[in-house]
């Protein structure tokens, strides 16, 4: 299998502060990989290094076989930031197609239609609404659509549901699970929620406290498609508890 993203001895320091320790990982094409770790451990920085928003201090990153900066120019990376980052002067529909409206030459010929995606995530009745008229969960759904509309081979998500309440979070997990079944792509997902990671991922990489390095690489052996009731299965519960132990061992190492 080819790698959608891979790093070799990737390290990042801000001045004297080491944030990412030399770290090697491979994200197989079409897989869903979560980066799970305590807050402040450097997992967001790792994601930003893969996405070309930070430059590494040492080591290499390749996305689709290219440096991230080259991959960005070809619109091969779609980002979902922690805050939805919607432009308040654009309607829901215009926000959903924002990334298609800039650097148009790099748009893939067969990207999904943002309007159809909005219908899929239940926002079909809000195409002309303005962002301030939406709830936090609805805004984050627009942010997901904006990323998926790009049709990019790699989608990077930085704790996209962290700011939402528990009920909305569970709803968003279902929604994302459905979205990736209909529009398969490679996803790297940063989270500090164990349940979220297990529910969505093929692999969970557990990161240590800063400087981040991989302490465990856990396969999630749950069949797909995964409906919401997968969270009641023994395999789900077992995976969660083993991850919890790994995480707490890493915290106190």
């Amino acid at each position: 299998m080819s790698a959608a993203a891979e790093t070799v001895d990737l390290a990042k320091a801000f001045g004297a502060l080491e944030v990412v320790a030399p770290l090697t990982l491979r994200v197989e094409t079409g897989s869903f990989v979560s980066l799970l770790g305590p807050s402040g451990c450097g997992k967001s920085t790792l994601l930003r290094l893969i996405g070309g928003l930070e430059l590494p201090s040492a080591g290499t990153v390749l996305v689709e076989g290219r440096e991230p900066a080259r991959a960005l120019e070809r619109k091969q990376i779609a980002m979902v930031p922690q805050s939805p980052g919607l432009l308040p002067w654009r309607s829901v529909e215009a926000n959903a197609r924002l990334l298609l409206d800039v650097n148009r030459r790099a748009n893939p010929a067969d990207h999904p239609d943002p309007r159809e995606l909005l219908h899929e995530v239940g926002l079909g009745g809000f195409l002309q609404s303005m962002p301030h008229q939406l709830s936090g969960g609805m805004q984050q759904r627009v942010a997901l659509v904006r990323a998926f509309a790009l049709g990019a081979p790699l989608v990077l998500m930085d704790e996209p549901f962290a700011a939402l309440d528990e009920i909305t979070r569970a709803e968003m997990r279902d929604l994302l699970a459905r979205l990736i079944e209909r529009h398969p792509t490679t996803i790297v997902f940063v989270t500090h929620s164990i349940a979220e990671a297990v529910r969505l991922s093929d692999r969970v990489l557990v990161l240590s406290p800063r400087p981040a390095h991989i302490v465990a690489d856990v396969e999630v052996a749950l069949p797909r498609p995964r409906a919401a009731d997968v969270e009641d299965r023994p395999a789900f519960v077992d995976t969660c508890s083993s991850l919890r132990h790994i995480l707490s061992a890493a915290m106190h190492a």
């Binding site: 996405g51 922690q82 308040p88 800039v102 301030h132």
Partner: protein, 259 residues
């Protein structure tokens, strides 16, 4: 109070304020018997305007055109310069002293030199009006463009948007609220600069020229009539600016509060 009643009260409030102000002014002049060349009553001013309506209308048109031209040229220049400064902190720091110098120097003192340099007529009016509006617009443009949401900036970077796309689709819309606030401030500045230069550019056009001549002959009626016309232009300008702001900034919190 009902919603309808509140809207009505809000619309009428400024009119009430002006009427009360004019009434107090009239009463003060009549009761205290203020000498004519110190202050004229509103009724005297209106009587004088009614005597020469076309002259004052034409002069008001000239002055408005002068002020609006300078104001808009300054805005356009400031957006271009602001975009460059917002992108480069070094350039911003380097230009700061010059901009501050323009603001703090009393432009009234060098009007004569500019008229000698650019000649009589419209050129010195446009030049000085543009000059005095420019710094505030630059400060507003830079601050507004810098205020663009960092998450949105990264989003644009994540698809390698061009500098122009970032300016047009992100920085400029982000700067609009600050630019409108600056525009209010600059309205007064543009009108004052226009009035003063019109009085010194040997063109005999505009309210400034009438005011200057009247002052020279100690004619209180025409002088106060120009002041009255300037106030009218300024008020109308701000009303139009407010209406434009409500349309352009529909999405912004400052306008949503008004509904």
């Amino acid at each position: 109070m009902t919603r309808h009643g509140m809207t009505w009260a809000r619309a009428i409030a400024p009119v009430v304020g002006i009427v009360v102000f004019l009434a107090l002014w009239e009463a003060f002049v009549q009761i205290r018997d203020v000498r004519p060349f110190i202050l004229r009553a509103p009724s005297d001013i209106v009587r004088h305007l009614a005597k020469f309506p076309m002259d004052f209308l034409r002069a008001s048109g000239t002055t408005s055109l002068h002020a609006v031209t300078g104001f808009l040229v300054a805005l356009a220049l400031a957006i271009c310069v602001g975009a460059a400064l917002a992108a480069s902190p070094f350039l911003e720091r380097a230009s700061q002293p010059v901009l501050v110098l323009i603001v703090v120097t009393p432009f009234a003192s060098y009007i004569g030199s500019v008229v000698l340099w650019l000649g009589s007529g419209d050129a010195p009016v446009r030049f000085i009006t543009t000059l005095v509006c420019f710094p505030a617009f630059v400060f507003g443009a830079v601050a507004g463009m810098r205020s663009a949401d960092p998450a949105s900036r990264e989003l644009f970077a994540s698809v390698a948007a061009s500098r122009f796309e970032v300016l047009w689709r992100l920085r400029l819309p982000s700067a609009l609220p600050t630019l409108f606030t600056t525009a209010r401030f600059n309205t007064g500045l543009a009108l004052i600069a226009t009035y003063l230069v019109e009085g010194q550019n040997f063109a005999n056009a505009g309210l400034g020229a009438i005011g200057r001549r009247a002052a020279g002959y100690s004619l209180a009626d025409p002088q106060w009539a120009t002041v009255f016309c300037m106030a009218m232009i300024g008020t109308l300008w701000l009303v139009l600016l407010g209406a434009l702001e409500r349309v352009v900034l529909r999405w912004h919190a400052s306008q949503r509060m008004l509904r």
